[in-house]
């Protein structure tokens, strides 16, 4: 009998795989960009199921609010383009399919339950923040007072992540902030409009034809 947790997992997994398949196979780059939205939301849902609340919010804020908007801007700014279907020819897609299929078969044969996993099949209860979000909601809505008490031990992960970032992970955190700053300055440098007119776009092959948006 599937629990609520299982049902939500399969729901999010189906959303993720279906929308990632659209990203993969869609002819239209705008469709791909928008289905990436559902992939990111589905991954955020998976984070919630894994009781990573801070990370789920970060996923939505940074991926959906930042990266996806950047990608959509990129699509809009560069899509005068060539009308033709920008996917590879069928001859180039078949080797890719073979490689990916082989990789997937390998990974799944390794990962299938019972082969190698000596990890716990159940969540690790050793730490107070590792709680079951769905069980908590279930207890809050329809559980007894006793069950509610059992699931109120967690204060979420944000506090603990903050402490770890300022102690154990301080050096990577600071390095990452420098990388972020350098990347943003570099991006602004690269994308800047050139004042030198000889650097502007000169058509080399053919004038791009006005046409439908394609991937």
């Amino acid at each position: 009998m599937p629990s609520l947790f299982d049902i939500f997992f399969y729901l999010f997994a189906a959303a993720i795989v279906a929308s990632a398949a659209v990203v993969c196979f869609s002819r239209n780059i705008v469709h791909a960009a928008f289905s990436l939205l559902f992939t990111f939301f589905g991954v955020a849902g998976i984070y919630v199921l894994l009781s990573a609340d801070f990370l789920a919010v970060g996923q939505i804020l940074i991926y959906v609010g930042g990266i996806l908007v950047l990608l959509v801007f990129g699509v809009m700014l560069t899509n005068r383009v060539t009308n033709i279907d920008l996917r590879s020819a069928l001859g180039a897609r078949i080797p890719a399919l073979i490689i990916c299929g082989a990789l997937l078969a390998l990974l799944i044969s390794i990962l299938l339950p019972g082969h190698w996993i000596s990890f716990r099949e159940v969540p690790w209860k050793g730490s107070p923040w590792n709680h079951d979000a769905v069980a908590q909601v279930t207890a809050a809505t329809q559980g007894t007072a006793r069950e509610l008490l059992d699931h109120q031990g967690s204060k979420g992960t944000a506090l603990e992540i903050g402490k770890l970032l300022m102690t154990d992970y301080l050096l990577p955190f600071e390095l990452l902030s420098i990388v972020l700053m350098v990347a943003l300055i570099g991006a602004a440098m690269i994308a800047r409009q050139d004042s030198n007119p000889s650097m502007r776009y000169k058509p080399r092959y053919k004038e791009p034809v006005q046409g439908e948006i394609s991937s």
Partner: protein, 105 residues
């Protein structure tokens, strides 16, 4: 066939599927932005693994923190890559990566 409750292998297989879809996107697309989308899928697959091992393995929150770092790196990568793509578009009028085969004018 009996129903097995969702555990660590389910999350790992989901992440393997996402990884393979991302690699397929990177291999078959010729649009630079679509290739970037494939990279984002791969990074998300890696993140699901990190967070799943945080919950099911006996590592403390380290996995979640690494996942957070990966998200920030993805933001850097998207910013720089889109700047490069816009520049490419400005220079050659298309973002087909097959045509981006010169190092200078």
């Amino acid at each position: 066939m009996t129903f097995t409750p969702v555990g660590l292998p389910h999350f790992l297989i989901l992440s393997a599927l996402l990884l393979v879809l991302g690699i397929f996107t990177m291999l078959t697309r010729r649009n630079a932005i679509a290739i970037l989308m494939g990279i984002e899928l791969i990074l998300n697959a890696a993140n699901i693994n990190f967070v799943a091992f945080t919950r099911y393995g006996a590592i403390n929150l380290g996995g979640q923190i690494v996942a957070l770092f990966v998200i920030v790196m993805a933001a850097c990568e998207a910013a720089v890559a889109l700047a490069i793509v816009l520049n490419l578009y400005k220079r050659q009028g298309s973002i087909n990566v097959r045509e981006a085969n010169t190092l200078r004018d």
